[in-house]
Symmetry: C2
């Protein structure tokens, strides 16, 4: 049978490719709505070859589709689109008031 | 401001107390609905002093309330109620057809 559930620690370690097929990085953690228990977004860690080269991007859960053959998530965004959105460290990851500023990254 | 979001890796390491105030164990992982991105339940690991003494219990997200002062989750179930429900290893953690068998553990 096909399971409809996935363990959070499997998601957290998964590799992410962008819409153009480029390897972006990996999911570092999920940000959850405390009350509703829904995934607000995944935090995707990118880069890391050099110090200061690491970026963290919020990616909506519904932008991520798991490819079983590839054993990785495919994102319906490009790296350039991520660059245009919020990123660490200036971004307050828990502040939902930024919804209006970056609407495309917060569609649940 | 009070954040409405919580990182998955913080949840995973959190201690859990039961309704009677007893320390049950800790959250090991969350099981997520792949499509909807909602937490189906938390897997609570209990015991572990002796080999064979470890149990894993599914606990619905809405049964867990975070107590900021205690820095832990409080469960609205008792350990005895958990014992009456599904547990590892006979339990197929991804099989939602067990819903009818253990209805109280699967209320989302």
């Amino acid at each position: 049978m096909v399971h409809t559930l996935v363990p959070s620690d499997c998601v957290e370690s998964a590799v992410v490719y962008d819409r153009d097929g480029r390897k972006i990085g990996a999911i570092e953690r999920l940000m959850l709505e405390k009350k509703a228990g829904t995934v607000a977004y995944a935090v995707v860690k990118s880069g890391g070859f050099f110090k200061g080269d690491v970026h963290h991007y919020p990616v909506p859960w519904n932008s991520l589709k798991y490819n079983v053959g590839r054993r990785a998530y495919e994102m319906d965004l490009t790296l350039e689109e991520l660059h245009g959105g919020p990123s660490e460290p200036e971004f307050d990851w828990g502040d939902r008031s930024l919804l209006s500023q970056y609407p495309q990254y917060w569609i649940l």
